[in-house]
Amino acid sequence: MTRSARLGALATCALLLGGCASPSRYRLVEPGARSTAGAYTVQPGLAWSSIGAGKVETWTIDGLSLESLRFFTGIAEGESILGGRAAEDRRARFSTSMTLPEVAEFVADSLFGRFPPRNVRPARFGGAPGFRFEVSYTTRDGVHREALVAATVLQKQLYVIAYTGTSLHHFARYRDEAEHVIDSVRLTGASARTQPQ
């Protein structure tokens, strides 16, 4: 590969993966069962690239700026979903005393700010009571995106799966796969023992 070809490949990689200065940070997620933070498993039907771990893990196929599936796990009392740029004292924080509609409101506010959720509905999350909703939003640079969000509270901790993608093409391209991943959630360990199946 010529130098210019390598640079081109790197530039493409950077474009697709949203600045993958270190491509090795990504791990391959093969189709099949996969555990998430010890609380549940999912069964992706496609191969995804994964980055991050702990409380936030992000998967993508074509690149983070095009579509992503994010897993926020184990948000406890007093914690925020996103650190972001907001000062420490200006973040919305999860509380176990929230009612389920308030949890949905908290998730939508935290992830999408002023863009309102649509069709906020009850939906089981691996057998546990939870909810789903959709949002259309616009990024700072004017790109229109869509989101599908599923969440639940397990053992006083919040779990969220958020699939987002560009309104033009990418959201629709992997929506069925994202819904398949969400529908495939199976609670494990203590979470499974405390939920009615």
């Binding site: 740029r85 907001a86 000062a87 004292d89 200006r90 973040r91 919305a92 509380s95 005393s97 929230m98 009612t99 389920l100 509609p101 308030e102 949905a104 506010d109 700010g113 002023r114 309102p116 959720p117 649509r118 069709n119 906020v120 509905r121 009850p122 909810f131 909703f133 939003y137 616009t138 990024t139 700072r140 640079d141 004017g142």
Partner: protein, 375 residues
């Protein structure tokens, strides 16, 4: 600028007409911008304009710009009333930002945050803030700041963001010019210090958030307020009754008020929002929305006693016809948290009646069904 009281307004007006008609040197020795003047090609100032042009291009696509034609036309009208012959060069963008924020770039690009608009009581106060920003533009403060940096050999790459923050003297000068432009346009200059007095009361001595360029480096001080008050006391407006324009201002802001209040409460700056809401409630407009917002503040903060206070605020909101249907939703959810199940069921059902297109209908219906099942 120190002048006696007698005949001040006329001489002031004459000075300003002159200022608008032809360039004059400002205190820094730099001539004010003339209407239609553009910086020389390839000059430093042209480069600053270019940067601001790029910012303006980004704003064209930004979801943060409020694209409400009626509100834009109103702001534009006040800008033109104050800026006179400079009006075509001042492009005012209303930015959806709940912070108390405004900025002026070298090329006449002005950004006004919705949090600032929410905090102003009338058109005269708006005129003061716009006049202050226009003062920065006329006096070429961004260019002066750039030259200061160069003279002091400051690392420009590191400091370029600070160009948006003006020096203490420049802020004083812009205050003065803002008040002068207000008077020239027939506004009551006594409203100028009230903008800052109210903001200082809201802050209650807490430090200003550092990310707010408008306030961070040169926050409103007692000295600035005193200078504005002193100027207002010595100034006589000669063009009839000085304009305050409360009704016009409130009417033009009303359609945006509900989402501005929502943004305000969701800043999670609960202490300052509480003071702001107290001011707005005292002013007495849209009380249903305001008490609802007060209820939301307590519900979202959720500290000791907040839930009880939110119930009181929501119930008060429902006494007014402009209480949003979401008042019933929030009240019902707070009843649920307080384990008053009967009241929760009844209030949530009322919300669904009042808001048939509620986007969370299915979730609320599910909540009601659970309450029914537990009876």
């Amino acid at each position: 600028m120190r002048r006696g009281a007698g005949g001040l307004a006329l001489s002031l007006a004459a000075t300003l007409v002159a200022a608008c008609a032809a360039p004059r040197p400002g205190p820094g020795g730099v001539a004010d911008l003339a209407p239609e003047e553009r910086p020389a090609d390839r000059s430093d100032e042209a480069s600053l304009w270019l940067q601001a042009d790029r910012r303006e291009e980004q704003l064209e696509a930004s979801p943060s710009v409020v694209r409400d034609p009626a509100l834009q036309a109103y702001i534009r009208g006040v800008v033109c009333r104050i800026a006179g012959p400079h009006c075509p060069r001042i492009r005012a963008y209303v930015i959806r930002d709940p912070a108390f924020n405004a900025s002026m770039a070298a090329n006449g690009l002005m950004e006004i945050g919705t949090g600032l608009l929410l905090r102003l009581a009338n058109e005269a106060q708006l005129a003061h803030v716009l006049g202050h920003e226009i003062g920065h533009y006329l006096r070429r403060h961004t260019m002066q700041r750039w030259e200061d940096f160069q003279a002091k050999a400051i690392n420009l790459r590191a400091e370029v963001g600070s160009l948006a923050a003006f020096s203490r003297d420049q802020e004083r000068e812009a205050d003065q010019l803002g008040s002068e432009l207000m008077v020239k346009s027939g506004y009551d200059p006594r409203e100028a210090p009230r903008v800052w007095e109210r903001f200082m009361a809201e802050r209650g001595g807490r430090p200003t958030v550092a990310s707010n360029i408008f306030l961070a480096t040169h926050p409103p001080t007692a000295e600035r307020v005193a200078a504005l008050r002193n100027y207002a006391e010595k100034t006589v407006v000669t063009t009839g009754e000085p304009r305050i324009g409360r009704d016009d201002y409130v009417a033009h802001l009303r359609p945006a008020r509900r989402w501005m209040l929502r943004d305000e409460v969701r800043r999670h700056q609960f202490a300052s929002s509480e003071t702001l809401l107290r001011f707005l409630i005292e002013a007495g407009d849209s009380l249903g929305e305001l008490y609802f917002s007060e209820g939301e503040l307590h519900r979202l903060r959720g500290a000791l006693g907040d839930l009880t206070r939110s119930v009181a605020a929501y119930r008060r909101a429902l006494e007014f016809p402009d209480a949003p249907p979401e008042t019933q939703r929030s009240l019902g959810l707070v009843y649920l948290r307080l384990e008053d199940r009967a009241a929760a069921r009844k209030t949530l059902a009322r919300y669904l009646e009042d808001r048939p297109d509620a986007q969370d209908r299915a979730l609320i219906e599910n909540q009601i069904a659970e309450l029914e099942a537990a009876r």
